[in-house]
Symmetry: C2
Subunit: 203 residues, 2 copies
DNA sequence: CTGTCAATTGACACAGTGTCAAGTAATAAA
DNA sequence: TTTATTACTTGACACTGTGTCAATTGACAG
């Protein structure tokens, strides 16, 4: 009888690695994190990493899933989905995503950097952005259903713009480079989006 | 008497290298261009590159200056500077910069990618972005002088937003990823900027 | 004919990723 | 007690790309 106290492909170690990667990526804002560093922090050798993840890209991608799971990226979207009006939904989505960015920033930076050379990384990050785009699309669609979408842009175009506005790079530039607070960032993006997409209430 | 047909630190070769780098960077959109490739295209050996540029970062930076020179990046700003009204200046600046981006995109991508690891590259790209920011600032200031700057944002804040809006990454996302035409990109950015910064003309 | 200068050739150091083979320590099963 | 299995270690090595160095070549100039 096998009472696997330490079952095949040890999940404890795997999680220790993911935690280590996450920690290091956030601490260094995604720059200069080597396999060696992650291994050291996880308390194993560099080679042992490859018993769990076959490439650096795979480890990075697994880290994103781990963060999503721990941080509950899905539940964050609940307020957005249950919003009554299109405007509320837009606001809620911007808040949800805008609040999530700083939590994944290090990992995102590393994955984006890898995307330049590694196809798997590019595909994984592209998929995540595609997922995020659906949130943008849903918000714009809600606005459109309320007949509140400005005629300046088509729904597709508005989705593209909102999607671009919410890019990690823009968050990075405004908060890190320009020194904005997180609150100011969120408020400004909301104000920009509202100004661009929501029909003025002329009283 | 030395009639230097081939003066010290041969400028012909230097230029051939810069042209080769430029060509390759644009062709491959800044990805995967190695010193070997540039040397080959310039018709010299990889090692000979180092007789002209001491590092890859230095070569990339020199390439940006070369492009600026050939493409006359300065003259492009003339219409912006001579604009009569703030709104015109804003439009002219967006057109100038927005038209310039596709010409430097490959090089910009490569330099941004290097910035993750190389401090010299980061500094050089940061400087270019700082220069561009001055154009944003001037446009916003012109708007403010005309009393046409919306009270929603302070001049500093408006500058930060315009600067972010005009980032290369946003151009990349809208044109390359979303498939927008260059014209649509320019028009949309103009419309977004006008909507965000220019006071409505209530008649 | 001699010096200079750009460029070549071939070698090597270094960092980081990924691979492989042999060994170890713990745990489980016969 | 012996035997297998599993997770991990150790040490070595291949590969890529950057950057360096020493010795050599070929051209041109005085």
């Amino acid at each position: 009888m096998v009472l696997d106290t330490m079952s095949s492909d040890n999940p404890e170690t795997r999680e220790r690695i993911l935690k280590a990667a996450w920690r290091l990526l956030e601490k260094s804002q995604g720059r200069g994190v080597r396999m060696t560093d992650i291994a050291k922090r996880a308390g194993i050798t560099r080679q042992a990493l490859y018993l769990h993840f076959s490439t650096r890209a795979e480890l990075l991608i697994a880290t994103t899933h781990y963060i999503d799971e721990v941080r509950g990226s899905d539940e964050r979207l609940a307020p957005s989905r249950s919003a009554q009006t299109g405007t509320e939904r837009l606001d809620a989505f911007i808040t949800a995503w805008g609040t999530y960015i700083p939590e994944i920033y290090g990992m995102a930076k590393a994955l984006i950097a890898m995307s330049d050379t590694d196809d798997a990384a590019a595909k994984a990050w592209g998929q995540r952005m595609e997922d995020m785009r659906e949130g943008c699309e849903a918000a714009i669609r809600a606005l459109n259903s309320d007949n509140m979408l400005s005629s300046t842009y088509s729904p597709d175009q508005a989705t593209d713009i909102l999607w671009t506005l919410l890019a990690v790079r823009n968050w990075e530039q405004l908060t890190i480079t320009c020194g904005w607070s997180q609150e100011k960032y969120i408020e400004t993006v909301k104000s920009l989006a509202r100004g661009a997409f929501v029909i003025e209430n002329v009283s």
